[in-house]
């Protein structure tokens, strides 16, 4: 039996311990904000926060999550998350929207670590998140805008 904290709540899982966290979230917890895009840590659509850092849930066996704390797009909060969401909405970042949960989870983590990121910081933190709609131009802008509002 695997026990972990999900968006602040105690959860257990007693299925196949190899099951990636992604499918535990989606199929068992019915938290579908976290997306599948590649299954091999190439696209970032499945990004969650595990014990405070970004993690590709598609390659994270649930067995390794025992005792950990998982935050998903449905549970992310705090001043960075609020600033990021506001900035995302203000300039309409999403197109199809499918990658955006992952983008936002990565962006929030970036701002938690680096409140005033440079373009290079953004490239470094966000290059693992593919957006096939190529909303990158606005993602970059929204991260800068979010950083500005947090400052002010």
């Amino acid at each position: 039996m695997i026990t972990f904290k999900l968006n602040g709540q105690e959860r257990t899982f007693d299925g196949d311990p190899d099951t990636p966290l992604l499918w535990v979230l989606r199929d068992f917890e019915k938290l579908t904000g976290t997306k599948y895009g590649c299954g091999i840590a190439q696209c970032g659509a499945c990004t969650v926060h595990l014990d405070g850092s970004t993690r590709r849930s598609c390659i994270t066996p649930i067995s390794t999550v025992d005792g950990s704390e998982v935050i998903t797009i449905e549970g992310i909060e705090g001043k960075e998350a609020e600033a990021v969401r506001k900035a995302w909405i203000a300039i309409d970042v999403p197109q199809c929207g499918y990658c955006q949960s992952g983008q936002i989870m990565s962006a929030v983590s970036l701002l938690q670590l680096t409140p005033k990121p440079t373009d290079e910081d953004i490239d470094g933190a966000m290059a693992g998140n593919i957006c096939r709609c190529a909303t990158y131009h606005r993602i970059r802008q929204a991260i800068h805008n979010a950083a500005d509002t947090m400052e002010g």
């Binding site: 299925g15 196949d16 190899d18 099951t19 990636p20 499918w23 989606r26 199929d27 068992f28 019915k30 938290l31 579908t32 904000g33 976290t34 997306k35 599948y36 895009g37 590649c38 299954g39 091999i40 190439q42 696209c43 659509a45 998903t72 797009i73 449905e74 969401r85 995302w88 909405i89 309409d92 970042v93 999403p94 197109q95 199809c96 929207g97 499918y98 990658c99 955006q100 949960s101 936002i104 953004i122 490239d123 470094g124 966000m126 290059a127 693992g128 998140n129 593919i130 957006c131 096939r132 709609c133 190529a134 909303t135 990158y136 131009h137 606005r138 993602i139 970059r140």
Partner: protein, 718 residues
């Protein structure tokens, strides 16, 4: 939102509340028993009304979009048109997908209901203006009757109905029921475009908020109680079929329930996604390659080249091309350009959910780009009357053409997987990224042979282009999509010939964001650039001189040159390239600034983009589509190819070897929209075609030689 929450809304509709504009046929409703426990998003119950607009008693105005929303913006664009004529306030607007029905929701550009060819706005513009104006007239009539004042004295502004004389004022909701009993005007009066207050504004998109908090529901997110999860093992050769299956190991995987051979491959059914995937990995399948494509991409290229000079389909022939190449002092230029197969790779791989109701009818949930086609095919595969199939269109995680397929082969597979069960449990079928990259329905491989003639005065006098590749429309004769943009060359060249050869392969072809322009735009715009360079002409001035018959091309090209301050000094180590392409009625000109990156690959720093798409319905959406189209095009031209290796085996499988552009590779983009009062044209595709040739033109000017084979960065070198 759970189904319980939905029921309330549906009941309130069925109770007759509100005004419905369009075709108030008997509302089709979900079979509630079938959908118990279904998790869906948005006010999906509304999606089952055959209408264009519903005005609720709660003041909300819901537009039923006959076009699927996958990021290109129809929810916002269509709602803008309705809100404009209705004089609604933007904050009261909502949008949902309409049901599947060709009669009501047919795309006026191509008959059946469908989204594609960048037609959503163009084919809805008149239709929804009228619907909006009708709703407004009915609300005004209801208010006039209630207040006992002449309708002519009533004004509507930002969702408020007002009568100045009596000081009376109301929202829409209070009159929604009464409006439904008024007689609609035969010809509703439409606004003069100069009075538009919403069209042309940068309105926020209606679907943004749900896409920032995880609540937007895509097909993959639909879950039903007791649902099965299914995946299919596919061959790694096109045209291969199942010879034999050993499923013993797969059946031992905990959670795997069944394994069945279907025409498309071998289906594995399980209690959850991971068990299904594990089960599929454990299968041993032997494939019959007797009808498969066994040539490699290199062999295909060689076979394509053999067709040059043989009889093809003539797409254009003016003047005397052969003679123009033989004139005195004529210089000629020749080039063969090879284009690879391209996968669309939408972020959400193909997927569908099937639920059978007690009465035997079936609900399909999918990203339906051709919903009535999906309905027909599902009915065929399941052996049902089409009236027993309800297609529930969901938000889709991209498409780029992938979900618009004649004969709906993806849905045929998913339905076959469902048909092989007893239908008692709801079922989700999903493709993995590997299935997607290796699934065919690519932008076909093409080969172009280009010949150009320049006379002694430096004028381009002859253009001879031969195009070899699959016919996307499966035609035996000339397929216009193979030659669009070339046969109707915008440049005035006295002697022009365009020939097309169709080849047939077992690799299924499909349109890919901007269809024929993906290759014709590249061939035309790079070759023209080379011809101009050969005679020392400026790429912008040289093009303008040849565009005398095309004022909108000229205007767009001039605009982008002005934006980029064309002719000004470019930073050391960088070069600029330009291209202009008209596709789907929209004119786009782009200038790119490129350098050689540390890895030897092109580094695209900046793209300036001018677009003329007629009346700009929502500049915010238009700019977003240009930015996105540019990113999509840059990624493809730099990195992407699906190749067939020895024996025809598909080489690529996922994003590690079918590279997507990433944020660190995305250029800065600046977009300008040319003001226009022409009818609006689409923007989903036209941003793509110019960027590839513009990059290749800059790359050549950086001294790397002309690009004769795409992608520019060869596979394996990144």
């Amino acid at each position: 939102m759970t189904f319980n929450a939905l029921t309330t809304t549906r009941r309130s509709f069925l109770a007759g509340a509100g005004l419905v504009i369009g075709f108030t046929l008997a509302p089709k409703v979900f079979s509630a028993s079938a959908l118990e426990g279904v998790q869906a998003g948005g006010d999906k119950s509304l999606s089952q009304i055959n209408a264009f607009i519903k005005i609720g008693t709660d003041d909300t105005v819901t537009v039923l979009s006959k076009h699927i929303e996958f990021g290109q913006g129809p929810f916002t664009g269509l709602s803008t048109i309705v809100a404009e004529e209705l004089d609604a306030d933007w904050s009261q607007m909502r949008a949902v997908h309409s049901p599947a029905d060709d009669k009501i929701y047919g795309n006026l550009a191509f008959g059946l209901q469908g989204t594609g060819g960048s037609t959503s706005i163009a084919n809805s513009y008149d239709q929804l203006r009228k619907a909006g104006a009708t709703a407004r007239a009915l609300l005004v009539a209801a208010a006039a009757a209630e207040w006992g004042v002449p309708a002519a004295e009533i004004t509507v502004e930002k969702g408020r109905i007002k009568h100045a004389g009596s000081g009376k004022e109301s929202g829409f909701g209070a009159f929604a029921d009464k409006a439904a009993t008024q007689t609609p005007p035969a010809e509703p009066k439409l606004k003069d475009p100069k009075d538009f207050v919403l069209i042309g504004q940068e309105l926020p998109k209606l679907d943004t908020v749900s896409k920032t908090n995880g609540t937007a529901v895509f097909t993959l997110d639909i879950t039903a109680d007791n649902m099965l999860y299914a995946v299919v093992a596919h061959p790694d050769h096109f045209g291969a079929t199942v010879k034999s299956v050993d499923d013993a190991a797969a059946r031992k995987i905990p959670g795997v329930l069944d394994v069945k051979t279907i025409p498309q491959g071998v289906a594995v059914y399980a209690e959850n996604t991971f068990s299904a995937l594990k089960g599929r990995d454990a299968l041993t399948v032997e494939w019959d390659l007797s009808k498969a494509e066994t040539r490699s991409s290199d062999q295909l290229t060689a076979d394509f080249a053999k067709l040059f000079g043989t009889d093809g389909h003539e797409a254009a022939n003016t003047g005397d091309v052969e003679k123009s190449f033989g004139g005195n002092g004529v210089q000629t230029l020749e080039a063969d350009i090879v284009f690879p197969f391209l996968a669309h790779a939408p972020m959400e791989p193909l997927d569908a959910v099937f639920i059978k109701a007690a009465d035997g009818s079936v609900d399909v949930f999918n990203g339906a780009q051709f919903p009535t086609m999906d309905k027909k095919v599902t009915a065929q595969v399941l052996g049902l009357d089409p009236e027993k199939v309800r297609v529930n269109t969901q938000l889709a995680g991209g498409s780029f053409g992938r979900k618009a397929q004649f004969g709906s082969p993806y849905i045929a597979e998913a339905a076959a997987v469902f048909a092989a069960t007893d239908g008692k449990r709801p079922m989700k079928h999903m493709w993995t990224r590997e299935d997607d990259i290796r699934g065919g329905f690519y932008r076909p491989m093409y080969m172009h042979r280009m010949r150009g003639a320049i006379d002694a005065n430096g004028n381009v006098v002859g253009w001879d282009q031969t195009i070899v590749g699959q016919s996307i429309m499966a035609k035996a004769d000339l397929d216009e999509t193979s030659v669009e943009g070339a046969a109707n060359l915008p440049y005035v060249i006295p002697n022009l010939r365009v020939i097309s050869h169709n080849v047939s392969l077992a690799v299924p072809p499909l349109w890919w964001r901007s269809v024929g322009h993906t290759h014709t735009g590249f061939a035309v715009e790079t070759f023209m650039d080379e011809l101009l360079q050969k005679v020392g002409k400026d790429p912008v001035e040289g093009r303008l001189a040849l565009l005398s018959k095309e004022p909108r091309h000229m205007e767009t090209l001039k605009k982008v040159a002005e934006m980029a301050d064309w002719g000004s000094a470019v930073p050391e180590g960088r070069q600029r390239g330009v291209a202009v392409v008209k596709s789907f009625g929209t004119y786009v000109a782009q200038i790119v600034e490129v350098s050689t990156g540390d890895d030897g690959a092109p580094r695209v720093h900046k793209v300036w983009c001018a677009v003329d798409c007629g009346v700009a319905i929502n500049p915010n959406v238009i700019k977003a589509q240009m930015e996105g189209g540019i990113g999509y095009g840059v990624g493809a031209v730099l990195f992407d190819a699906v190749t067939l290796g020895q024996g025809g085996k598909i080489v690529q499988s996922n994003f590690h070897d079918y590279r997507s552009l990433r944020i660190n590779e995305m250029p800065a983009v600046e977009v300008a929209i040319i003001p226009s009062s022409e009818k609006p044209t689409g923007v989903g595709e036209p941003g793509v075609p110019p960027v590839g040739p513009a990059i290749a033109n800059a790359w050549r000017r950086l001294g790397h030689g002309a690009v004769r084979r795409l992608p520019i960065v060869s596979i394996g070198s990144v």
